[in-house]
């Protein structure tokens, strides 16, 4: 009972690097009062969609540093929608060239946040989008 908890899946798709950024976001969202399901490194699009389904999340946040976002994001969106989760908002963070941002938004991504974004802003953005979808 009481106020609705926002549940967010934070995932790191692709084979590259470290998950420091993803961890920072996970903690920031927790400190904002959200419940963050953290799945760690090397998530395939299938694993991400499956976790989003089992956890019935309101939003998914992806941290992508590899440059593979134009391949990963549409695939993940497609899988999430195919599971019937029409309301799940997808957010993308990491290293995303400016030119790709409108393309991602066009695909149906709810928000793109580069390396400089404040975690407070990101939390606010997620909260706003999830409230609208509800």
């Amino acid at each position: 009972m009481g106020e609705e908890k926002i549940r967010v899946l934070v995932a790191k798709p692709g084979l590259d690097g470290h998950d420091r950024g993803a961890k920072v976001i996970a903690r920031a969202l927790r400190d904002d009062g959200m419940e963050v399901i953290y799945t760690g490194l090397r998530q395939t699009p299938e694993m991400i969609a499956e976790a989003a389904l089992q956890e019935d999340v309101d939003a998914v946040g992806l941290s992508i540093l590899s440059g593979a976002h134009m391949a990963l994001v549409p695939r993940i969106l497609e899988l999430i929608r195919a599971n019937g989760q029409d309301n799940v908002a997808l957010f993308v963070g990491g290293i995303i060239p400016d030119d790709d941002v409108p393309k991602l938004l066009e695909m149906g991504v709810a928000g793109v946040h580069g390396p400089g974004s404040s975690t407070l802003k990101i939390a606010e953005d997620i909260r706003r989008v999830v409230r609208q979808a509800a």
Binding site: A26, D31, E35, T39, Q54, E55, D58, N87
Partner: protein
């Protein structure tokens, strides 16, 4: 989730629709009207799963062990595969109310298997190792047909008795080198163990840890399982002298390496044996009854309190509290008056 007004699709849940199940779990966790109604209607479909609790201090390897056990049940060397659900509980931050739920990190091996369903949940302020809604989530997964349900507790270090009330089989996980001696382990946590696992058996100190644990086990058993429930003791007795010794359950100690899987077949075997013991000794029915009774007791208490609050004006209640504060009434006298319906003077 904008399912606030939609009825839950119970048929879909019973026929294995994972999205419908996932949404049901959300409603149960919220304790919403639909969630409650769904649980009422699903209740006849519950009671089939074997519930296994996994508890122990943080870092002992509960999530890794849960992963291995699930893998074992999905791919047993003998017999048919069994479907597995996992409910993993992590603490909510007392400051923000948020949580980072990280148990899935250790359960990657289970990805892509439609016979497995993993759900993470935060304690949302509840103490004792589980969330208030954990039992409800377990009921939902049970109704959905999962044969084995693994329940991973927070493992905050104190005796987490809640899980022993909920689970049929409680596994307590220990690891060498958590503090210099195992004496530090609270006796309470060993008391709830049906099976004791010494994980990280690949680590130094495992011999000493096992010796210490065996010492404590021999001291501690056989014991009576006592559930202290709102001042009432619900005892589930282990048969004493007059009963045949084969009706006694002595918790086995099993070494595991949950990063690799060593000891996991032995652990699964011990769970099977414990289940058989519960069935043949009559303990299963006794535990089930005690659990249902305690649930009814809780609900009754809440409902009666609510009804009483509805029948009593807040003004009268406040007036009574003031009289207590002024030492004109004792708390006991106040309760007697409030329940009598006679206005305090």
């Amino acid at each position: 989730m904008n399912l606030g007004t939609r009825r839950m699709d119970l048929k879909a849940i019973l026929s294995g629709d994972r999205l419908a199940l996932s949404r049901l779990l959300t409603q149960i966790e919220k304790d919403s009207e639909q969630g409650r109604q769904a649980l009422n209607e699903l209740f006849p479909h519950t009671g089939k799963a074997h519930l296994v609790g996994v508890t122990g201090a943080p870092g002992t390897g509960k999530s890794s062990l849960t992963n291995q056990l699930a893998k074992h049940y999905r791919n047993p060397p003998d017999g048919p595969a069994r479907s597995v659900a996992v409910v993993a509980v992590d603490p909510s931050s007392p400051f923000s109310g948020g949580a980072v739920l990280g148990d899935r990190i250790r359960m990657q091996d289970l990805a892509g298997d439609p016979g497995v369903f993993i759900r993470s949940m935060a304690t949302r302020g509840s103490l004792g190792g589980l969330a208030t809604a954990t039992a409800g989530l377990v009921q939902g997964l049970d109704a959905a047909g999962y044969e084995i349900i693994l329940i991973e507790t927070v493992g905050a270090g104190q005796a987490e008795v809640e899980v022993a009330k909920l689970a049929h089989t409680t596994i307590v996980v220990e690891a060498p080198g958590l503090g210099d001696d195992v004496q530090a382990i609270k006796a309470g946590i060993l008391e709830i163990a049906d099976i004791l696992v010494l994980n990280k058996a690949d680590r130094p100190g495992v011999e000493a840890a096992e010796r210490a644990l065996r010492g404590m086990l021999n001291l501690g058993h056989p014991i009576e399982r006592v559930f202290n429930h709102h001042g009432r003791r619900a005892e589930i007795e282990v048969p004493h002298e007059e009963s045949p010794t084969d009706k006694l359950w002595l918790p086995p100690l099993i070494r595991t390496v949950s990063t690799e899987g060593q000891g996991v077949p032995e652990l699964a075997q011990a769970i099977t044996e414990h289940r058989a013991f519960l069935e043949t000794s009559g303990e299963l029915q006794r535990r089930e009854r005690a659990r249902l009774e305690s649930e009814v007791h809780d609900l009754l208490q809440k409902a009666m309190m609510n009804r009483w609050r509805q029948d009593t004006s807040d003004e009268r209640y406040q007036r009574t509290l003031e009289q207590i504060a002024a030492r004109k009434l004792s708390p006991r006298q106040a309760v007697a008056q409030l329940l009598n319906g006679s206005a305090p003077q």
